[in-house]
Amino acid sequence: MKYAYYPGCSLSETAKEFDVSTRKALARLGVELAEIPDWTCCGASAAEAVSELLSLALPGRNLALAGRELPGLDVLAPCSACYLNLLRVEKKTERDPDARRRIDEALSVQNLALPGTMRVRHLLDALVNDVGLPAIAEKVVSPLEGLKAAPYYGCQILRPYAEFDDPERPRTMALVLEALGAEPLDWRLSATCCGASLMASKKEAALPLVGNILRAARDAGADVVATVCPLCQMNLEAYQSEADPKGPVPLTVAYLPQLMGLAFGMDPEEVMFGKNMAVAPGFLAGAPALA
């Protein structure tokens, strides 16, 4: 199993732990990741707000690179925004030949062109549908027993393209958590917005959203909120005291592959728990698997 890997900007800077844990967890599952050489920013949510063509050309460049350098491989993106931007190119060009023509024209300045077929995958999609739950369970050496994990999916891996999960009531991450031996919680805000980049541009609008999510997770009895998006992770871990000042202790927020690493018997430092900004005291010592 091999993918063209697109880590995206966040994973190479503020979310290094996501990148590292993803690589390690997938390696343990026998999945090979070939990083797209010379990849550049996908435009995040900003490009779309400035130029439509740019919002397609930026991710298009990366797909073109993948197509040229790593032909035939599905492109795997762990970050939600990157995933959606790349996927949008795949979807738009499928039904709109004019869009493809325009992207190709823009890319032509770098002597690049979109490959004939593209297949963009998200980490969760790959885990559940390619690797499969039994294979994950098989690698578990320290089951996360008794760990109440609130899966948090965010938005853009679910919507607008419902590729691999229910856009309102997703369940794939819960399945993975279950395979890790944890107890996934069925809580109502697992797919609601965390405010995304509004946290940077309109903080006062985003904070209540984060507060709601944290409270709901706590109310559901979560020991940890599991994420698959650097922006979600950042919003949920870095603003806890501002968004939910009444929250008693930090609520642990961790990337799913970090939890996978723990269940696979890796040392917390191996999956860079040191970089997490919200880890409840004793979290890593609490559950047997985390001891």
């Binding site: 419902a162 229910d166 856009p167 309102e168 009531r169 109502r188 109310d219």
Partner: protein
């Protein structure tokens, strides 16, 4: 053997029943089938209907055959000598042409012998299976052995094999051995295994040892072929794909050639892909190898039971009516956020109907999931309707009214609770109350306290503060986000094509439309894409009961027209009217025949003592025990014994009175005795119910038989009077679309029709319409009708004429038509009033003062004839509901929104950038017209909602009209400077006062001709024998008018068909010498069959209208009014007989 029918009706819901009754009523033999094990379709689950808030299905009783069925509740069943009912039966294929269809039906076995089942319920008690009860909408569990609906008559348990776990407990528990799983026949069910691998045969032999199936094999392909050719008895062939000497394909095709019904099971590895092809060629199933014993054995055993128990029935029919109904959208089938299936407080509208029903799930009722009373109940409209995401760019038409009705039901049910009725809230976008009485129904609901909120709730979540409740957020009209909690949230689920629609469409060879409903032809709303196959009810689109029945009548008319054309091809023997001897002067001689084969009779009844006691009864001259009375031999024995006794009264004690009643006619013929002097008494149920030890059974049975004897002793032996046949002529008043359609339809049945039109030209209002929303040309259609009517040998057209005199009663009317050539007298049996309506023209808002103001219809015409040039326009405004749905005309004109959408699309087609503004209250694009509304929105036309208390204001300045109105979405006023203003003026009734008085029919509060009953008798006027259709009855679009006209024609044909205008045997009569003329009986008669004579000295009963319900007899203090067949003496002596055995 192939049975021959005139028509096959598929679907026995209310529309199918109606079509079947229509056809049966005109003497046609009908096969009525339904895939479910009960009659009545969805309606068995609904107790009350809008807008009357009661059931009212009994209003259709006049269509049944009352003499032979003593039927009193249409929800309980259907009995008609011309209708054969086949339940659990599906249409498999339909070959042939109109007039000569050949249908193959598959009747799924219920495994319960209805002649033996006594409804004791023991099978259901012991059944370990728990599956969702269909009847209670999944709110309750049922066993595999279960009673499909509680109220049917006859009502037998059935075994649902698909869910059966083969424990056979029901078989053991059945006291009458009514359940038959064909255990004994297994030994002769030869299974031939053609598999080169000998292990397969060995395995099967081992696995199926217990079942004792004879297994033979392994055999090679050639020997299979040999055996098939020899006609050896092989009941099932297991054919492995690896067969090598002959290809499996060849084996299969050859075997099926020799025996088309041979069940062949393919086995093989999953990779053997050619299996799929063989399945298409007629193999029954493909089973993957290696065979899994735990799965294969039960599967094969069930397959065996199906093979030997299911019936294939082949029938010939001249025409087919499809009445497959619709199914309710399942909100759990797609990912959804409405909490359905997650929050128990979220239910569908169908589930709510069950929750408030007295036969609803036990222990539920109107409670919150936590058991507290539900005090705050909300409905959400458009769940699965008007939703492109759910592939439903249509409006389900009925849900708004259903929710209002349910709110009424809830309020009534909770009225006595502390704090008064529960709070009811309906969330909707447009409230589609487009039926004639619907607006006032809505007004009443508002007045009674139901809240209506314009919002489409997007998600329903558990209330964090109150775990038993759910919470919603919505935007109110001011754009403010509101948060509210409810105890129950009802999803007003939309309509979907019926389950199994694709299979049915394929079997019937019909096309479906974009949304999966049956496709119908322009201007022929009941015609499907296949000639001779008609669509009734909601099969071609969601409709309420009233319109479904109209469509059922129209479909029946189409079918009967066809049958009529092909009638000469078929042998049709008119049944001679039997005449019975007059036994008035004879002393009563009662013959009692008791069937001794009823399952429990022998074990529980002392038959000798019974015979003795019966013989001792005064008036009883003969008693006989008859073996198996239900068989024809048994029946012959009854006749023989009766001949010996020569009785003038006959009592038959057996099971299933309803099954025997029709046979009494036979007996009547054999004994030359009026069947009214015979009675069937159910002794089977009594014997079964008499407790485990049969204690008291003897006296119960005796008492019951004694009651029957007493009843017959008191029966009035006078023969019923014979009446004259109906005049085979119809008078149709009104020569517009509806009148022409009705006239042609009646005339095609061979009856003479007088078509009377006031104006000099035929055609009516439809001639003003240039194009329908679907793009059809109405004028061409109407011109065709005019041409056909002109050439029709049975139609006499009187234009420039009026009906000047109308006398008589149903079947025998006499009218005079004043024509330019002088008066023409017409004796006719029925009349159809299609006197039309008018586009209302009210001279306000600048209409007729400013030349840029016109009605929508004028706009359409002027766009067509070029007098409005779109190039010169800068903006167009339209105002809907101009004088509709207000105090003065409190009904929706229903066509105006369609008209507006049509004009918007036309304007936008010509000039896409032209600003068009539509001011509206609710857009009433019900049904598939919603699609055009979506289109109109898409063109960029702006729809601005106004509320009736703040209507748009208007001002005329410099040749422009300035319309201003408050836009609730924007929260401010919008001012439109329009070059052209189109007003949706609505439909008004023509002046019907003269025609109403002449024909003695009533007008409703709006001035339209009133229906006898809006829901159940939608084209009958308040006078029997006079029918109404088209705009005369209320606003309708062309398709609807056509359907109504055909329905009215159907009713008229049925009336004209009457060979004798006799009424049922059970009708009321007045003994004038006793009558004090107090008039109480007139007031209580629900069928308006009674009146004071014009000379004021007699109460008269219209025997055709009288349904024998007995209300009059109950209210009459001194039995001056009596019910024929139920005299006081008779009833008193029956009571007496019943009490005889008590202390």
């Amino acid at each position: 053997m192939t049975a021959t029918y005139d028509a096959l009706v598929v679907g026995a819901g209310v529309a199918g029943i109606r079509s079947a009754l229509d056809l049966a009523g005109t003497g046609q033999k009908v096969a009525l089938i339904d895939h479910s094990p009960h009659l009545g379709g969805l309606l068995v689950q609904l107790d009350k209907q809008f807008p009357t808030d009661n059931c009212g299905m009994c209003k259709m009783l006049p269509l049944t055959e009352r003499e032979s069925s003593s039927q009193f509740c249409m929800r309980k069943g259907l009995f008609h000598s011309n209708i054969d009912i086949l339940l659990s039966t599906r249409l498999e294929s339909l070959e042939g042409d109109p007039g000569q269809f050949h249908a193959v039906l598959r009747k799924h076995a219920s495994f319960v012998d209805p002649t033996r089942c006594i409804g004791c319920g023991k099978c259901a008690e012991v059944c370990p299976v728990e599956v969702k009860s269909e009847f209670n909408a999944g709110l309750e569990a049922r066993g595999a052995a279960h009673l499909p609906v509680p109220q049917a008559i006859p009502n037998h348990y059935v075994v649902d094999l698909d869910n059966c776990v083969r424990c056979w407990r029901c078989y053991d528990a059945c006291p009458t051995k009514a359940i038959d799983f064909k255990f004994a026949e297994r030994e002769s069910f030869n299974i031939l295994v053609a598999d080169p691998d000998p292990q397969t045969t060995a395995d099967l032999a081992e696995w199926l040892k217990k079942q004792k199936f004879p297994i033979e094999g392994p055999v090679d392909g050639n020997s299979v072929l040999e055996r098939a050719a020899e006609g050896k008895d092989v009941r099932l062939l297991i054919l492995d794909m690896s067969l090598s000497d002959v290809s499996p394909e060849r084996v299969l095709s050859r075997c099926l050639e020799l025996n088309a019904r041979l069940p062949v099971i393919l086995t093989g590895t999953p990779e053997q892909a050619e299996a799929a092809r063989l399945l298409e060629q007629g193999a029954l199933a493909f089973v993957e190898k290696p065979l899994d014993r735990a799965k294969f054995v039960p599967w094969l055993d069930k397959l065996y039971m199906r093979i030997v128990s299911d019936e294939i029935i082949e029938i010939d029919a001249a025409a087919v009516v499809l009445a497959g109904g619709f199914s309710c959208y399942d909100p759990s089938e797609v990912a959804d956020v409405l909490g359905y299936g997650r929050s128990p407080g979220v239910v569908t509208s169908l589930e709510l109907e069950r929750l408030v029903s007295s036969t609803g799930p036990k222990g539920r009722g109107l409670l919150r999931p936590d058991g507290r009373p539900a005090r705050r109940i909300a409905w959400l409209q458009c769940v699965g309707s008007r939703d492109l995401k759910k592939k439903a760019d249509f409006c389900s038409s009925i849900c708004c009214m259903i929710s209002i009705k349910e709110a009424n039901m809830v309020r009534r049910l909770t009225a006595e609770q502390e704090g008064g009725p529960a709070e009811t809230t309906i969330f909707s976008m447009d409230l589609r109350v487009f039926g004639k009485p619907f607006q006032s129904y809505l007004d009443e609901a508002k007045a009674s306290g139901t809240r209506f909120i314009r919002s489409r709730i997007h998600s329903i979540i558990p209330d964090p503060a109150d775990p038993g409740a759910v919470r919603v957020e919505y935007l109110d009209d001011a754009g403010v986000l509101q948060v509210e909690s409810f105890d129950l949230f009802v999803l007003g689920v939309g309509a979907r094509p019926p389950a199994g629609m694709n299979e049915l469409a394929r079997a019937a060879g019909i096309e479906t439309n974009e949304w999966g409903f049956c496709k119908t032809m322009p201007f022929e709303p009941a015609r499907t894409s296949r000639l001779g196959v008609f669509a009734a009810g909601s099969f071609s689109g969601p409709r309420d009961i009233s319109e479904s029945l109209v469509m059922a009548d129209a479909a029946a008319l189409g079918a009967s027209r066809l049958v009529n054309i092909y009638a000469p091809l078929r042998e049709r023997r008119p049944q001679p009217e039997p005449e019975f001897r007059d036994v008035t002067r004879e002393r009563p001689r009662v013959f009692v025949a008791v069937c001794s084969s009823c399952p429990m009779v022998e074990s529980r009844l002392d038959t000798d003592a019974l015979t003795r006691r019966l013989r001792a009864m005064s008036g009883v001259t003969g008693v006989a025990l008859v073996d198996r009375a239900c068989t024809s031999q048994g029946w012959d024995r009854i006749i023989d014994k009766a001949r010996e006794v020569d009785p003038n009264r006959v009592v038959i004690g057996a099971c299933m009175p309803y099954a025997y009643v029709p046979r009494l006619h036979e007996l009547g013929k054999a004994l030359n005795l009026n069947p009214a002097l015979m009675d069937v008494c159910d002794v089977a149920t009594l014997t079964a119910l008499g407790g485990d030890d049969g204690e008291g059974t003897d006296s119960e049975v005796f008492s019951r038989l004694r009651m029957s004897v007493a009843k017959l002793l008191g029966a009035d032996p006078r023969p019923t009077a014979q009446a004259r046949p109906a005049s085979p002529v119809a008078l149709v008043a009104g020569g517009g679309l509806a009148g022409l359609t009705a006239a042609l339809a009646v005339a095609d049945h061979g009856y003479e029709v007088h078509l009377v039109e006031e104006r000099e030209e035929l055609g009516g209002l439809a001639m003003n319409i240039r194009r329908t929303l679907d793009g059809e040309d109405p004028v061409k259609h109407v011109e065709l009708l005019i041409d056909q009517a002109g050439k029709h040998p049975n139609i006499r057209i009187h234009t420039d004429s009026r009906v000047a005199l109308h006398l008589g009663r149903a079947g025998r009317f006499f009218s005079v038509v004043n024509t330019p050539d002088g008066p023409v007298p017409v004796e006719h049996g029925a009349a159809v009033l299609a006197t039309g309506g008018v586009e209302s023209k009210l001279y306000e808002w600048g209409f007729r003062v400013h030349k840029n103001v016109m009605t929508q219809q004028e706009l359409e015409q002027r766009l067509a004839d070029g007098t409005v040039d779109t190039a010169g326009l800068n903006a167009v405004a339209m105002i809907q509901c101009w004088r509709s749905r207000d105090e003065e005309r409190n009904y929706c004109s229903r066509v105006c929104c369609q008209q507006a959408v049509k004009n918007v699309l036309e304007l936008k087609r010509r000039r896409p950038e032209l600003p068009v503004f539509v001011f509206y209250r609710d857009i009433m694009t019900y049904g598939f017209m919603e699609h055009f509304y979506t289109e109109a929105r898409r063109t960029g036309a702006q729809f601005i909602r106004f509320s009736p208390d703040n209507p748009p204001a208007m001002e005329h300045r410099d040749g422009k009209t300035i319309v201003s109105a408050f836009d609730p979405v924007l929260g401010r006023n919008v001012e439109v400077h329009a070059d052209l203003l189109a007003l949706a003026s609505g439909i008004e009734p023509a002046d019907h006062s003269e025609i109403a008085e002449m024909f003695g029919v009533e007008m409703d509060e709006h001035g339209f001709l009133k229906e006898a009953e809006y829901k159940w008798r939608p084209v009958a006027s308040t006078k029997y024998g006079v029918f109404v259709c088209g705009l005369a009855k209320g606003p309708a679009n062309m398709e609807e008018s056509i359907a109504q006209a055909q329905a009215a024609a159907q009713r008229a044909v049925r009336m004209l068909h009457e060979k004798h205008l006799a009424s049922g045997a059970v009708v009321a009569e007045v003994r004038h010498s006793l009558c004090s003329l107090c008039g109480k009986c007139i007031e209580v008669c629900p069928y308006e069959a009674r009146r004071l004579s014009p000379t004021m000295d007699k109460i008269q009963v219209d025997e055709l209208l009288c349904q024998g319900c007995g209300s009059c007899a109950a209210v009459c203090p001194n039995s001056a009014t009596i019910l024929r067949g139920y005299s006081d003496r008779q009833v008193l002596s029956v009571i007496d007989a019943a009490l005889e055995e008590t202390v």
